[in-house]
């Protein structure tokens, strides 16, 4: 047999039928649902009197617009409340498991899926959310879909899809002190741009990737979509298997042994060919900070805001001018001199226990700078929150002046009350620095959890490699 990439293996396993132009009918093993992209899909099923084909493959929770404070009081915004209640009703009516707001297992779908062992190597995984690529860290074919596709998967467990092209991103060497998976993915996006991955499934390979924890791998795959790729992938190995062992949704006994045997085959063959390859030397990656309104607008923390006048490409130059105006920044300003108003530690990119530990290690014994109006820590799930509290991390944050919140997407996209006000500038561990993403008129700088923590204490960015 021809050598195959991991993507090829996963794709081919899920093809039900394939037409000559490469469009396949693809089988979906796991479907995560949330309140925002599902109501119209369930409504479509109701209107046509259709059932959910395999309800046991779906797992639902509300995460996007749930409050992160005083949850017992319910949701103040009547539309958001209706949407959350609608999800609960839909899950009852269509026999789908839902983790409600009072369930400790509730959280961001891309945190709770892996946490429950509901995402497994070899699966095809979808959700009505672009960051579904996160689950590719488990050697699963995982990608975001829209509401029409959510309805299609509910009704038929399948999707019509055009095959993607495999891209290899090979990273070898050791990451320097203070440099994380977040810095690695921001650095890659800075290199290939936010459209560099369009049409591709990116597989991350190399010794640096193998040395990452599952949480670091999830951070990496989570932002594949910010490079334009719908799919991010990492081969299954002992780190993957160790992470999954004993989790609630994983197979047991002899089935576990058989599964593990299969998972060990989920890697690209040695001489498999990719449509595009990028090589990164990990030792050259530095702590990164975005300065603009696209994740590709990113520089090392020791750098400065770039000058559009130096950019030869006209449309890029115009984009830089627009971004600098929105961000209220001047070319040549040192990144370390940008004063901040708020800090957000959370989101499907960086809200897992390892992220909170990394942030707490910086915060321990310190104080949030007087100039910071608000510093939020929002754990990715109720279980992450409980684990952090058992370790005393909540106390570390609270004593330093952070607010310790209930799990949800929160200030990543400002659908609940956690928002930036117009003109406020935030160091954020989330994934998008688009205009208004964290609140209309708000200004976002994307960073790692350790960088966000250090920025909260200093009131500005600092090179955490020197701490």
């Amino acid at each position: 047999m021809n050598p195959r990439t991991l993507f090829d293996k996963l794709w081919e396993r899920h093809v039900i039928t394939e037409s000559a132009d490469g469009t396949a009918l693809l089988y979906i093993d796991r479907h995560f649902l949330h309140e925002v992209l599902s109501p119209q899909a369930f409504e479509g099923l109701r209107l046509t009197g259709r059932k959910v084909w395999r309800p046991e493959t779906s797992l639902a929770t509300a995460d996007h617009n749930v409050p992160t404070t005083a949850r017992k009081l319910g949701i103040a915004d009547p539309m958001a409340r209706a949407q959350v209640e609608q999800l609960a009703r839909n899950c009852v009516d269509f026999s789908i498991t839902e983790f409600g707001l009072d369930d400790q297992r509730q959280g961001i779908i891309h945190v709770i899926g892996p946490e429950q062992g509901a995402t497994l190597p070899g699966m095809s995984v979808v959700a009505g959310d672009s960051h579904t690529c996160t689950h590719g860290a488990f050697a699963a074919l995982a990608f975001g879909i829209g509401t029409s596709d959510v309805e299609h998967v509910l009704a038929t467990q399948s999707l019509s899809m055009k095959r993607m092209k495999p891209m290899q991103v090979r990273v070898d060497g050791q990451l320097a002190r203070g440099v994380t998976a977040k810095d690695l993915i921001l650095s890659l996006i800075g290199t290939i741009g936010t459209s560099g991955g369009i049409g591709y499934a990116i597989e991350f390979q190399g010794s640096t990737i193998q040395a990452l924890s599952m949480e670091g791998r999830m951070t990496l795959c989570n932002m594949a979509i910010e490079a334009g790729a719908r799919v991010g992938l990492i081969a299954a190995d002992e780190t993957t298997i160790d992470y999954l062992r004993g989790r609630p949704y994983v197979p047991r006994g002899a089935q576990w042994d058989r599964a593990v045997e299969y998972w060990r085959t989920l890697k690209s063959d040695d001489d498999a060919s990719f449509d595009r390859s990028i090589v990164i030397d990990a030792s050259h990656v530095q702590p990164m900070v975005t300065w603009g309104t696209s994740p590709e607008m990113v520089v090392p923390v020791d750098g400065c805001v770039p000058d559009p006048g130096q950019e030869p490409n006209e449309s890029k130059r115009n984009g830089m001018v627009q971004a600098l105006s929105y961000m209220d920044l001047r070319p040549g300003t040192l990144i370390a001199q940008i004063p901040l108003d708020k800090v957000f530690i959370g989101s499907c990119t960086n809200s897992r226990i390892g992220d909170l530990r990394a942030a707490a290690a910086i915060v321990r014994g310190g104080r949030v700078a007087a100039s910071i109006r608000q510093a939020l820590v929002v754990p990715g799930s109720g279980l992450v929150k409980a684990e952090a509290e058992a370790e005393g991390l909540d106390q570390v944050f609270v004593e330093a002046g952070f607010e310790w919140r209930e799990p949800g997407c929160s200030m990543c996209l400002g659908m609940n009350d956690d928002r930036l006000n117009a003109g406020e500038r935030c160091a954020s561990t989330s994934n998008r620095n688009f205009e208004g993403r964290q609140g209309a008129g708000g200004r976002t700088h994307l960073v790692s959890p350790a960088m966000a923590a250090a920025a909260a204490l200093a009131g500005r960015f600092v090179n955490i490699a020197h701490l």
Partner: protein
């Protein structure tokens, strides 16, 4: 979904690169449980000021944009979130096609399922369209051609399956349901 074959329209140009779905429709408008009426929130943060008044400098508020069905946008249009509210809002506003040199995958996919035609063209054609706002163009899906003024014809690619759905106004779910026997066979072979 309305069948779509030929679109004849003046273009509206938004030249910025990387216009993301948070600009097309900000997240605070996603708490709806229906698909209709999102056109009024299309590009809300660019279209209205903080008091909700139309921003006269924004292209969609200018008289020449009225009635246009074709949006020409900078590279990597529709990047970001998978919210299908983005094509719903564009369609509700009156657009039937988006032309760019690159269109983000999930947005493209969502558009095809709702009757909004994503047209990806080469850099030179894109540059001409960006530089000539208000150009009269014709998009013919039956021949996969975009015709610019002066009868300049440019071919564009579109997946055969999606094209069939758009031309006939056929919802994809009907097709998928016709494959349920294949799906069951697949499940049996995989050992459900």
């Amino acid at each position: 979904m309305q069948p779509l074959q030929v679109i004849r329209s003046k273009t509206v140009v938004m030249a910025s690169t990387n216009i993301d779905t948070d600009q097309i429709i900000p997240a605070r408008f996603l708490t709806v449980t229906t698909k209709e009426g999102l056109g009024k929130e299309l590009f809300a943060d660019w279209r209205y000021d903080a008091q909700g008044n139309p921003n006269p400098n924004f292209v969609l508020n200018q008289p020449q944009s009225k009635g246009s069905q074709v949006l020409v946008a900078g590279k990597n249009f529709g990047c970001g979130s998978s919210r299908e509210h983005a094509p719903w809002a564009l369609l509700d506003f009156g657009f039937r096609a988006v032309i760019s040199s690159e269109i983000a995958d999930i947005f493209k996919n969502n558009s095809l399922k709702n009757g909004l035609l994503p047209v990806v063209v080469d850099e030179a054609t894109h540059a001409w369209l960006i530089g000539n706002p208000g150009a009269d163009v014709t998009i013919d899906l039956s021949t996969n051609t975009l015709t610019l003024p002066g009868e300049r014809r440019i071919a564009f690619a579109i997946e055969a399956f999606a094209r069939y759905g758009l031309l006939n106004g056929v919802d994809e779910l009907g097709y998928l349901r016709s494959k349920l026997a294949d799906i069951e066979r697949y499940e049996a072979a995989r050992g459900w």
